[in-house]
């Protein structure tokens, strides 16, 4: 009898909390690309939503001007949009940098200036430098945010180079 009671109590306490929006669960991990010894996995760290991302030509010798595909619903206007990247390997930070993507006086990409609530799909070059990736496992935190530092997208990525 006490088992029943305990179960019921536990259910009663847990059930409503898992019913909220967004769920308590994390978003699924997706594969951005996997080819020629390079694997890029990512997971959205925005509690409100997931997003879609893929890289076209994936290889250990990362080419410059990669083509990517990106789909998301905007939670903010992106007249101003910034990207923060933090690269970690073996628990130590290798690289941190911040890069403006859209600025009021210099909208670099055609999607700059689009509004909160718009669904955007971008397929095109991202103007990155070429790069040889050394063998290893890397964690990358990518954050897109607006001028008020409100989140537009957030990704926890893992890059495995073998």
């Amino acid at each position: 009898m006490s088992n029943v009671m305990t179960t019921l109590l536990v259910w009663a306490l847990i059930a409503p909390s898992s019913g909220g929006h967004g769920g308590g669960d994390a978003w699924p991990t997706h594969m951005a690309c996997s080819n020629e010894g390079l694997e890029v996995l990512y997971q959205s760290c925005d509690p409100l939503q997931d997003f879609g991302f893929s890289i076209d030509q994936c290889s250990k010798q990362l080419k410059s001007d990669l083509n990517i595909r990106f789909g998301i619903i905007l939670r903010q206007d992106i007249k101003e949009l910034f990207l923060d990247i933090a690269l970690v390997s073996d628990g130590s930070s290798i690289l941190n940098f911040s890069y403006p993507i859209c600025e009021e006086d210099f909208p670099k990409f055609s999607f700059c200036g689009r509004r909160k609530g718009e669904q955007i799909y971008f397929a095109g070059p991202i103007n990155n430098p070429g790069l040889d990736i050394p063998v290893g496992k890397y964690h990358v935190l990518l954050e897109l945010y607006d001028e008020n530092r409100s989140m537009v997208a957030c990704a926890n990525a893992t890059v495995i180079c073998s």
Partner: protein, 661 residues
Amino acid sequence: MAPSISCLFLAVLLSAGCEVITSSDQTCFEKEANKTYNCENLDLSEIPGTLPNSTESLDFSFNFLPAIQNTTFSRLINLTFLDLTRCQISWIHENTFQSHHQLSTLVLTGNPLIFMAETALDGPISLKHLFLIQTGMSSLEFIPVHNLKNLETLHLGSNHISSIKLPKDFPTGNLKVLDFQNNAIHYLSREDLNSLKQVTNLSLNFNGNDIKGIEPGAFKSTVFQSLNFGGTVNLSVIFSGLQNSTVQSLWLGTFEDTDAQDLSSAMLKGLCEMSVESLNLQTYRFSDLSSTMFQCFTHLQQLDLTATHLTGLPSGMEGMNSLKKLVLNVNNFDQLCQINAASFPSLTHLYIRGNMKKLHLGTGCLEKLENLQKLDLSHSDIDASDCCNLQLKTLPHLQSLNLSYNEPLGLQSEAFKACPRLELLDLAYTHLRVNAAQSPFQNLHLLQVLNLSHCLLDTSNQHLLEGLLDLRHLNLQGNHFQDGNIPKTNLLQKVGSLEILVLSSCDLSSIDQQAFNSLGKMHHVDLSHNSLTSNSIEALSHLKGIHLNLAANGIRVIPSHLLPILSQQSTINLSHNPLDCTCSNIHFLTWYKENMHKLEDSEETLCANPESLRRVKLSDVMLSCGITPVGAFFLVVFLLLLVILLIFVVKFLLRWKYQHI
């Protein structure tokens, strides 16, 4: 069985209780009491009962309202701003906003609209801004035109619109902005634009539409505030189509992800046939950049050539005589002289920010720019061992100079003699090398604002700020002082006219009582993000009515003799300090509650000890530290008297009892 039923009952009760808690978690956020509310992302399918009837501004985006009708918002009759972005609205039924006379902005972005009733937008007396971005619309006939006569801005981006022709009875009387970004408009005919002929000073946005043709004369003799054809693949089409038009601001730039044709001088000839004041050509490449390239720019006042892959501009450029403002950000110059500044004699504003290569300033490259008032050379990797008199030779009217985010600059005494009329000088994040006892800013008698944040200054140089007679605003954020102390004699004594002083993140642990004595005019002092204790407050004793920021310091106890100094200021920020909430700080805690109106960021002003009150807001602390030494004395005397009285009573009672045995 009875216990199991009762425990089931208990479980149900508990789960109900939990549900109430979670749903009350999901209440709207109050931004301004009784007026402004944010209910974003709450999965609401109706207006919550908790919102007051007086609500004026409501962000209800990312909720669930498949159909909206006259009962949906009927209670909130004072709404002026309503954001219904991505609420999955399919239907907007008759008279939805009938009782919302004050409504001026309605946002319907990202809703899969199937139908809007003819009277859907009736009600508001003056609906000014309507957002119908990405609502799946393919024709402008979709919009009910009944009540749009006061409309000023109409946003129709990211739809399937292929013609901009407005319906016959569409009211355009007050229209100022018409935004068609990212639609499928490929052709603009005369007929399309005839419906806008009466509208003067309109801003039209065709960004992200690949315009392939414009009927000749379509834009003839119409005056536009701004026209945006961003991302167009072939600009010749635009130029020939805009013949005989008048445009204040023409945005023709392209983007990194757009394959646009290179610009030739033949293409730009089209500008001779139109009147433009301000032109943007960002991210384009010029195919044959010669001195005649811009010969049709004679009436142009502003030209933006951001990221146009320029390594230089040809000498003797024709047609730039009246240019006032030139933007050359994010290009590839080696030498400042490569811009051949002599071609732009009227220039008042010049921006060369974020140059992709190390920019060498050279000697006197800008000396022909006698009218230059504003110069921005930030983020351009500039270094110079002896700046800046040769580099900025004869800029007699320069008022604003930005050299922030560059490589180290060596400054001698009177380093800015070449620009004596400077009012604003920004050197933030540029390492300044100043030899001891030199005064680089000497003679800048008109300078009002000086930003020296993170310049790695030698702050022990008493002469550093000499000669700044009119300086009102000084930012010294992120510079270090010897031993973390500002002594009695310091560099600030030379700038007696200072009104705003920023000394945040300077690793300060103490400030001498008399350190600011010569600064009598200050009204804003930022000392945040240091390790100051309450002792440093004494340095402010001679100041009244200032805005004082002491956030993120090491202040624990503020003794009572310092409270009058705080009392005489107008606004104080004490957030993020390890404040003491024990009786040893009771005077300050009492003062705090009495002066709440002066305190800023009180949500983040928390106790650090005792452990039991850790992270409790100071305003919520109720301490009773009743016993003062005087009180204790009286209490002891009182107890003593009580004991004596008791002894007498006992004695009396015993005697009385024995007497009656």
